[in-house]
Amino acid sequence: AAAPHDDTVKLAKIPTTNNAHLGTEAYKDAYPLQYKSFMKNNEGAPSPTGFGGAQPENSHLKNQPEMLENFKGYKFAIQYDDDRGHTYAGKDILSSKRRPGQKGSCIVCKSSYMYDVYYKDSGWDFASKPFDDIAAPIAADQWFGCSSCHDPETMQLRIYNVGFVDSMARRGIDVKTASHNDMRAYVCAQCHTEYYFTKEDGRVNMPYDNGYDAEAEFQFYQSGQAGGFQQDWIHADSKTPMLKAQHPDFEAWVTGVHADAGVTCVDCHMPYVRENGRKYTSHWMTSPLKTINESCLKCHDESAETLTARVKTIHENTFKLQRIAGQTVSKAHLTIQAAMNSGATDAQLAQARLKLREAQWYWDWVAAENGVGFHNPDRIMRTLGLAIDLAHQSIEEANAVVKGSL
């Protein structure tokens, strides 16, 4: 279904010695245009909107200090950065202060080594082993390579993340028979999505069963559909069992206006560009506003300025509510802690904690999503509205337990 330009692209035989086909260098001579543009992922420029961007050490914790409270007791309070180019995927996980103590499952979205070596050999066994052991054999070049998206033999787009394949199957979607257009989203979706590690064997799974939005995913975790998995951690201050949301870019996009029109991640983030009059797919996956002519103006008649300003406006409206939601969630953690200090029991605080867990989930779902609202404005804003409401309800509830209420 998903041949890149079918017969028009000359197929090269990529060497497999030392798993060279899991890297990028082995493809350099055969596909120079794609290789060269992929290397642009090393560039670290800010976004014209002032949100996102690809600078090193662009710390979420610095830009939104409320995260320090909200993730207290969990690794995300130690280091949590804005994402940057794909070429950094390996470097950044290896140097992340979140790495120590992790399991093999963390390599799933950082290298197709997961599939081409480990999974083919012994299924999900690698997932529960220590990260450092599993990561050791992966060479620098193999952390994120062409094989993350392409079948090295056919150069067709492929989904190697078996967790995504299984999760989609539970929704009745067979990604093996997906249309070419759908593949242009699924190939990103396999990583750019909310996930959790199953309690049973540590495999990667997605909570899609009830639908793709934040509310449906919360329901998934609440109703026991995640099996033994119940929380990511217990919050240090409020002692609430928390969920961490991770980059639900796919889920945000899929119910939005662009997905309605069949516009995929690739259309915006990997537009067709030209060299010597011939088109090829840009492999610089970054803010589409850096390539607005190719990414947006092929469909939109507005000027580049109008369109950039519009994206910025959506970002600003989103970020305004995101900060309010995040800060109210922080206050709720502290209020529940204060209630505990005043002698409130777990039974008395159950409601307040449940509301806080849900509130933080909605806030985090948006904060972890990378489009800062753009991928689905009204859906994202709805999610933030729910977060604000629930966080306040939690605060009011905790106060009521100790102080009573009017």
Binding site: R184, A261, G262, N276, G277, L297, C299, D301
Partner: protein, 160 residues
């Protein structure tokens, strides 16, 4: 050596080449003129492949490109304009420096609008835009896709 380098080192030659093509178009008789106004000729350039492909899918696929894109006020202006724009097109085609998505310049929009009216005056003559289309933001505000289909179709980009 890439094209840009080639052209910048041989600017005069290229301009002369463009001029010759333009002059040819202007100079040759009406047979030549009509042979160089349709999708087959216009679509022969790389830059024009996408407009030609989208035009082929649009309701106006039976109208020649020049029906819309050249002024039809009188034959002299038509020919001068054909030569002038032909040279510009050729120059940028050789340079390969045209944008990913070419957009109509202001003058080109006015030309197109006047041509819409040439065929559709009766349809619109009882509403405000009949006399002065540009004032209402032009025909393209609502009908930009009648001539070139669209990239907005459900199912994603069709023209690639």
């Amino acid at each position: 050596m890439d094209f840009k380098q080639y052209v910048s080192e041989h600017t005069l030659k290229c301009l002369a080449g463009g001029f010759v093509i333009g002059a040819l178009v202007m100079g040759v008789g009406s047979v030549m003129v009509s042979a160089t106004g349709g999708p087959a000729f216009c679509g022969s350039c790389h830059a024009m492949k996408e407009p030609a492909a989208s035009h082929a899918m649009a309701t106006h696929k039976d109208r020649d490109c020049v029906e819309c894109h050249l002024p039809h006020d009188n034959p002299a202006i038509y020919l001068i304009e054909k030569g002038r724009t032909g040279m510009i097109d050729t120059y940028h085609e050789v340079l390969r420096d045209y944008p990913a998505h070419i957009q109509l310049s202001k003058g080109a929009k006015e030309t197109v609008n006047k041509n819409c009216l040439r065929c559709h005056q009766t349809t619109v003559e009882r509403v405000k835009m009949g006399a002065a289309p540009m004032d209402t933001g032009d025909c393209m505000k609502c009908h930009s896709r009648v001539a070139h289909g669209s990239n907005h179709l459900e199912g994603g980009i069709k023209v690639e």
